[in-house]
């Protein structure tokens, strides 16, 4: 009858569609690593077990409903207990579940074995972007969603990778064991890429471990999966897997850029270049809470535009950005933004939206504050 329809739809939907290698269909993606394929197999085994049990159980049920209707002249039987039957139908599910637990245990043990990794990447969740540190390589990336606001508001046509695109993807080499260490700077986030079958919570004060070994070059997309506040729906994860040579070249280029950036701290910066750089930093880091025009979302996120108390006190302004405000949503940015970026964003905030203080904050002063 109709209630069986749901099951039939599930059967039709899934059997007609797999295998699917990317997260775009009706079923779990098979993915691009041995672990993701193992997980997919477990998923399909337990699914078919459920289907078989469902067919038997609902079959008996609908047969009874059809056959023993009063309108067909059925008369109720008297039995109400049968120990053997009850023992059998308790024992069979138990045995099925034991059989299911064995491969699940093996896969889980494999997923937990992050030893002997070729690369270590530290993943730090922030409200609302991801930070990737290539450990031992002095390369750090910040990964922000790059979907334009106009697409979300519907004033512009939505692109192919709507909400699943970032400015800086996590770049990884294929065929290498990558250890992923997850943590958070503020609330709990969760880092998930379906094609890798890696989902790990990023928890402040904890470092969680997981790993992957990607088989095919490609771009794999996922999202934050733990509610982390207002923009939880807008912090995608994008992994760009490439061949080792390409990866090496990319890494070398990044190292160079990082070294050049460090050199920028020592020189004297002008108001205009700081404001220009600060505007970009503000848009990616600060605007999600304090809003595009600095109007904030009181009471949780105070306004910056026209905030006279803050504009009168430059040291306080720098202190808030560098050290955060304990007990509030304002994080410390000394570890996540470079001294140049902090100087730039503070300068920008003090010279935008009618805040015309004319103050210029030098990166060298911030550097002195962070590492005296």
């Amino acid at each position: 009858m109709r209630k069986g329809f749901a099951l039939a739809a599930l059967l039709a939907g899934l059997s007609g569609q797999f295998p699917i290698s990317h997260a775009t269909g009706w079923n779990m993606p098979v993915g691009v690593s041995q672990v993701s394929r193992d997980v997919y197999d477990l998923h399909m085994i337990i699914f078919w077990i459920c289907v078989v049990i469902g067919v038997v159980v609902f079959g008996v049920m609908f047969y009874s409903l059809f056959r023993y209707r009063r309108s067909k002249g059925a008369k109720a039987a008297e039995f109400h207990e049968h120990t053997t039957v009850e023992v059998v139908w308790t024992a069979i599910p138990f045995l099925i579940l034991v059989a299911m637990a064995i491969p699940a245990t093996a896969t889980l043990k494999n997923m937990y074995d992050a030893s002997e990794a070729d690369y270590d990447v530290m993943i730090t969740g922030h409200q609302w972007r991801w930070q990737y540190d290539y450990m031992g390589e002095d390369v750090t990336l910040f990964s922000n969603m790059s979907t334009p606001k106009a697409q979300i508001a519907g004033t512009e046509e939505k692109g192919e990778h709507y909400l699943l695109e970032v400015d800086e993807p996590l770049v990884l080499p294929v065929d290498r064991k990558i250890r992923l260490l997850t943590t958070s700077a503020d609330v709990i986030h969760s880092w998930w890429v379906p094609d890798l079958a890696v989902k790990k919570d990023a928890i402040p004060g904890f470092v969680n471990e997981s790993w992957t070994r990607i088989d095919e070059p490609g771009i794999y997309r996922g999202q934050c999966t733990e509610l982390c506040g207002k923009d939880h729906g807008f912090m995608p994860v994008v992994v760009h897997a490439m061949e080792q040579e390409q990866f090496d070249a990319w890494l070398a280029e990044r190292k160079q850029a990082a070294a050049a950036e460090a050199g920028g701290v020592d020189r004297e910066w002008g108001l205009e270049e700081l404001v220009e750089r600060g505007e970009k930093v503000y848009a990616t880091v600060c605007a999600s809470c304090h809003q595009a025009e600095g109007q904030g979302l009181p009471p949780t996120f105070p306004a910056l535009a026209g905030n006279q108390a803050l504009m009168d006190d430059l040291d306080r302004h720098i202190d808030v950005v560098v050290n955060g405000v304990s007990g509030s949503a304002m994080a410390s940015f000394s570890g996540t933004l470079s001294p140049v970026d902090i100087a730039a964003v503070v300068t920008f905030e003090r010279n935008a939206w009618g805040n015309e203080t004319g103050d210029v904050v030098q990166p060298a002063d911030i550097q002195a504050l962070i590492a005296p």
Partner: protein, 57 residues
């Protein structure tokens, strides 16, 4: 005592003959069933944990 354990195990398994159940409810002491029930529940935790430890290697 053994009867109580058997009855509690039957309860864990979820199947019991009507006669035995009747006997338990007429002759058994509730305290004994509760005590054995708690002990066996604890034992269940220990066993499952031991299995998990073994499986984890």
């Amino acid at each position: 005592m053994w009867d109580v354990i058997k009855s509690v195990l039957a309860a864990f398994f979820g199947v019991q003959q009507d006669q035995r159940r009747r006997k338990d409810f007429e002759q058994g002491k509730p305290g004994a069933f509760i005590l054995i029930g708690i002990l066996l529940a604890f034992l269940l935790v220990v066993i499952v944990f031991a299995v998990a430890l073994m499986a984890a290697g």
